[in-house]
Amino acid sequence: MPDRPHAIIIGAGFTGCATAHDLALRGFDVSVVERGEIASGTSGRTHGLLHSGGRYCVTDPEAGVECIEENIILRKIAKQCIEFNGGLFIALDESDLAYGEAFVEGAQACHIPIEQIKPAEALRLEPNLNPRLLTAFSVPDGAFDPLRLALAFAATARKNGARFFTYQDVTGLALDGKGNVSGVEVWDRAADQRRTLHGDMVVNATGAWAEKIAVMARVNVPVKPTPGVMVAYDRRLVQRVINRLCEPADGDIVLPQRRMVVVGTTSFEVSDVDYIPVVSEQVRMMYERAIQLVPAVAQAKMRGAYMSARPLIGTSIEGRSLSRTFRCYDHLEQGVEGLVTITGGKATTCRAMAEKTADLVCEKLGIQAACTTKEVVLDSYRNYYIP
Amino acid sequence: MKNAPSPAHWLRWFDPRYRQPGTWGYILNRITAIGLTIYLVLHLGVLSTLAKGPGAYDSFITLVKSPGFMLGELLVVAGGIIHGTNGIRIVLNSFGVGVRDQKVILAILMALSIIGIAYFAYVMFLVD
């Protein structure tokens, strides 16, 4: 249908798939170009934590509010791939207890429902916790399957007409004479062919790679790829997400995932995000931090270790303190029409990121269409693959 | 599409490379099944000599007692034993017995089969 505006989304991670879903619902003709498969980059390699916002309610309340709002929405629309057993924040020393006061205040401010639990009760719920815990708070955390969450968005987008072009690298942006973006040049790796796709708007949803796409249009995005390591152990030692009651730090989360627990994470900087090696010192640090929260990790066998690069926003300050919230950039501000970039954020907030991006795209194209993704329950993720 | 399932891949049924003991059980079962069915049909055909009266049958028996035929007969016996013991494994597994120990059961039954085959070989070739 030629009268429908054509949006080209670069990147099929959480943000790209959710944006495709949102724009397809708003009546757009949507094409998604992805150099790997669904969730082959950062998205697939997330911790799998459906944040309650508790992790950020003290240091980054904006992200905390986003998390709890989206947490509630995702539990409704993406139930198929989320296990929702809640989570605990546990205090192991005096400084944790001191942080607890700020935590209670922060959670209240962000409207995160928390409840203080006595150590004995916490141990009854989770017998593998460190028995020396001083106090605990329950939070509405959850755990999700990263690939399937992205697939669920993609499947629903596909049902509503979006097309996904996987294994297709974006090699450049198609520019008109005035330097505005009119499409993308792609290299189909599966068929070894090159072509150009034209659209009314290009959405750069490449997360940690956002800068690489932006420079193709001679603009920039203040994104700082900040990788962290995650280590999986082969026993499901806890049923709930276990967080250390402290400021976001290395190895402060132990999360159940199928028969495993996954410990994460660290935070450091890299220049090249295409391949980030797993550093054995960081793996060792995860182990040491994990056995403080859940001592039985010492009896478990390591099953896997992996890295993933968060797309944090900002350029000058150090990684941990950068906000986990997201930003949507209209590159018209830098003199280039036809390109918007969405980056930053968490997996938990991907739907909200998509909503903001789709709002911006609609505004730029002068289209009146309301966002309905809060209500639409996602299709079975398997339908992404079923023709 | 070359990698998709296809009847043309039937040779893979009998390819034990990189596979587990269970595949050997399956391969043996399939080969013996085909062999025994062929034998069954031939056997019924050959027995028509019985209908032709004593002369035809007795001359047939002399032929059958030649070493070549005896070896064939041993193959049939071996096939029958292997197929039978394997069948026992499948019945046991299907009714929930020893599914997690199928390798052990397979090993025991195959050992019994070898003993059985050896016994028949002894009776057929050495006792007479």
């Binding site: 023709p387 | 998709a4 399932p5 296809s6 009847p7 039937w10 049924w13 399939r30 099944a33 085909i34 025994l36 069915t37 069954l40 049909v41 019924l44 027995l47 028509s48 019985l50 209908a51 009266g53 004593p54 049958y57 007795d58 028996i61 007692k65 029958g80 039978g84 069948g87 026992i88 499948i90 019945v91 299907s94």
Partner: protein, 123 residues
């Protein structure tokens, strides 16, 4: 993509499988009995036509042989059908092979029974 389209079911349901399984068990039992009986009734083996006639004069023998014939033929033909199914045949081909197997199997059973009765009645 052949796997995409759900084909009409050829109704090899639990019963045919159960029959294959149980007939297999029956065959194992019958064969064991056969060897014992054979050993007791004809310890020296059945080497001549006369031996065979004498052997079949015992009424247990023809009954056992017919039972064995029926179970062996049906078990092996149902088994062949299973292998044939693994070759992903078209529903039409399955129907054809089903009839062919019924026809051949029925023929084999009738022919074998006639043979047993012929011998049992003294040739």
């Amino acid at each position: 993509m052949a796997g995409m389209i759900s084909k009409p079911k050829q109704h090899e349901t639990v019963w045919l499988w159960l029959y294959k399984l149980l007939s297999g068990v029956v065959i194992v039992v019958l064969l064991s009995v056969h060897f014992v009986v054979n050993h007791l009734v004809a310890p020296g083996g059945l080497l001549t036509y006369a031996d065979i006639l004498r052997y079949y004069s015992n009424p247990i023998v023809p009954v056992m042989e017919i039972a064995f014939l029926v179970f062996a033929v049906t078990h092996s033909f149902v088994g062949m059908r299973s292998i044939f199914l693994d070759l992903n045949p078209s529903p039409r081909l399955i129907r054809f092979v089903d009839w062919a197997l019924v026809f051949l199997g029925g023929g084999a059973i009738v022919y074998g029974t006639w043979l047993v009765l012929l011998i049992a009645s003294g040739g």
